[in-house]
């Protein structure tokens, strides 16, 4: 096997794992491999997928974004308040995503200009933003939106079959794939994550790259918040807790290196699906939710250990 073939096989490892788990579940549960169930899985994973796409960029930079769950909540609360105050739902939705981008931009400024370690910067922001969403919502959910547009965001179907969030996810996947693969910005993300000093000395504006990436991550978290709020028809100030960990798990499962510089968006999509399929399958099989956590965690560790082992 040539080194390139080996590298390709390694890259496809997570994908093979997904197929294997899928095949196993199809064998064990007759309900798994039905169009209805698969669409259900896709819809369930779309929120994690949207967050994880943004997180992929952050991790490619060698950073981490712990604040995505809080951004999701605060953006949702802001959008819900605007709708309740009579603003146009579409405007309120865009404003919510924009607010998420601003929050992400603050993360980026703290990291790039304040030279604070991403873990600490986004940990602080996570707490601040969670607090703000409780303050603005007075600690209780905001419900009761009368808007076809808004309920379509999370609950609608395209052609009566494909859930709207799945369409969003696929569009975003295509966009991220394009940006990482084909644009100057994408190349600069890889370069900055791979060797920030060399990138800077090659004229890459590494601080702008960092700010841009955290901004994108914030916007993606907010977008996930819109989908979630629409689905629940309710904006919860406590929504999204722990979502950052699911997103990080998906990115790492997909083969993106936490050290930065190496990874791809397809891997993240596979990681998201792997986690989603496991959740779904274990539910179908009637495994208790306590054991589900044990199994999910073990699969993540196993996958990463195999990945490390094969790289030696």
């Amino acid at each position: 096997m040539t080194p390139q073939q080996k590298a390709t096989l390694q890259k496809l490892g997570p994908f093979l794992a997904l197929l294997l788990v899928g095949a196993g579940l199809a064998f064990m549960s007759p309900d798994f491999l039905t169009v209805g169930n698969l669409m259900n899985v896709l819809r369930q994973v779309s929120i994690n997928a949207l967050i994880a796409f943004g997180m992929t960029l952050v991790i490619l930079l060698g950073g981490i974004d712990l604040s995505v769950g809080s951004i999701l909540a605060l953006a949702s609360v802001l959008t819900a308040m605007m709708m309740r105050a009579g603003y146009d739902p579409m405007f309120a939705t865009l404003a919510g995503v924009f607010a998420g981008a601003v929050m992400g931009c603050v993360n980026g400024l703290i990291v790039a200009k304040g030279k604070v370690a991403p873990f600490i910067a986004t940990l602080g922001m996570m707490t601040v933003l969670r607090g703000l969403s409780l303050v603005f919502s007075n600690g209780s959910p905001i419900t009761g939106f009368q808007s076809d547009f808004f309920s379509m965001l999370g609950g609608g179907y395209v052609a009566g079959l494909i859930p709207v969030p799945v369409v969003w996810t696929l569009l975003m996947f295509a966009l991220f794939w394009f940006v990482l693969k084909k644009t100057v910005f994408g190349r600069h993300v890889y370069a900055t994550g791979g060797n920030a000093e060399a990138a800077l000395l090659s004229g890459v504006k590494t601080d702008r790259v960092q700010i841009g990436v955290y901004t994108i991550s914030g916007a993606m978290a907010a977008m996930a918040g819109m989908v979630l709020t629409s689905r629940l028809n309710s904006a919860q100030p406590t929504a999204g807790m722990g979502y950052e960990l699911d997103a990080i798990a998906a990115v790492v499962l997909g083969g993106t290196s936490l050290a930065g510089g190496r990874g791809w968006i397809f891997g993240t999509l596979v990681g998201v699906l792997l986690i989603g399929v496991l959740n779904n399958g274990l539910n179908l099989l009637g495994v208790s939710s306590f054991y589900q956590q044990v199994i999910k965690g073990s699969v993540i560790l196993l996958a990463v250990l195999i990945d490390r082992g094969s790289k030696k």
Binding site: K182, T183, V184, A191, G194, N195, A198, A199, S202, G203
Partner: protein, 493 residues
Amino acid sequence: MQIKMSGISKAFGPVKVLEGVDFALAAGEIHALMGENGAGKSTLMKILCGVYQADAGTIEVDGHAVQIHSTTDSEHLGIAIIHQELNLIPQLSVMENLFLAREPRRFGVIDSGRMRRETQHWLALVGAGQIDPDIEAGKLSIGQQQMVEIAKALSLNAQVLIMDEPTAALTEREIEKLFGIMADLKAKGVAIVYVSHRMEEIFRVSDKISVLRDGQFVGERVIAETGFDEIVRLMVGRELGDRFPKRAVEIGTVRLAVNDLADQGNIAGIGFEVHAGEVLGVAGLMGAGRSEILKTLFGVNRRTHGEVMLDGQALVARTPSQAIAAGIGFVTEDRKSQGLVLGMSVRENATLVHLSRYAHGGVVNGRAESAAVARLVDELHIRTRDAELDVKSLSGGNQQKVVFAKWLANPPKVLLLDEPTRGVDVGGKAEIYHIINRLAAAGVAIVMVSSELPEVLAMSDRILVMHQGRQAGIFSAADATQETIMTAATGGN
């Protein structure tokens, strides 16, 4: 102690790195091991140290066959290696480093008093008694750290010392000191394997030279009976022609004019001009502020004083990207940490600086990019099977050519070079000199910092000598000698 390695072979997967190599080392000799990058020197030494195991071949110590399965085995035999990248832990003190993992204990607690006394003893033995055993290793100069490593090797009772490019990061004075210590050790019967690319030094200190080429042993020579030309021929397997190719370039108008330049405290009062087609060498001891001139011009360090004119325009460069936009290029000193993104391909590295040339509206035109890279690979003779391979799979010389390629897609007005041939073998060096000459011929003004005096003298038109952050003088290369440069660099008259 006598060491005899015979018929050593080693392959990594399908790649044969060593094939039937012989190497013999006697007590009290300094034995240089030479060869181009990738010739197998490091692998051979790692086998001797137990880092790798040979696939075939034998190792004899004093006539007895031995098996070296681990670094512990080699340590017991009295073989120690001092790596190019020093292995001290910067946050630990000198004595903690010296006795790492074998700390003297009393009642189960570290006996600091004894550790300090013994450290002083070993440091004094290598003529570095002035180093405080309690100081953090990271606060020492590279030269001092090397002394600590040598002391550590001796404290392990090493009879064989392998030194990998020991002088690459040393000042002239530290090199003298190191050579003195090597002579002492030799007199005490220690055998030293000296791995280096610096021919002048090898001919000064070694007794014998063994040469490897493409994983094969091509010969052993006694220093007194050989010369540069023969060794180079053995290494590259052909006549190399001039070590320093000549340049016939019409020197043009002033491109870069620097007046009374200063940064935040490293350099001050720097003033010089570089013309189109001219190479200005910058010489001086390590820490004299040579690289700082380049970094200040390039916007890495802050300029606190002085004017810089580029083609008659005032240069504003507070960041590297502004410097690049103004027409300055910078081949950095350390290609692994500053020059290349090692995890990216040759193509991606080569186009990092000028990627937007191959892009419309931020979207890269892959075909235009690949075509440009193919041209650069061809033009600079970058030897790689495929530009899509990771740049780290290339040899040092070819990696350095990729660093040059980054700038050549759109040649700058002024190119700053910081140690452009460090860690590059003879063949690679000659190719880099050709690249420099071609750029000069195209009218680029070049400023070249180098620690290798023969290189500075041969490649420059004029030489700026630095001494303790100040400019000690500018000499015409035609009149300068190693002596005049060193005198100026050490502050003499």
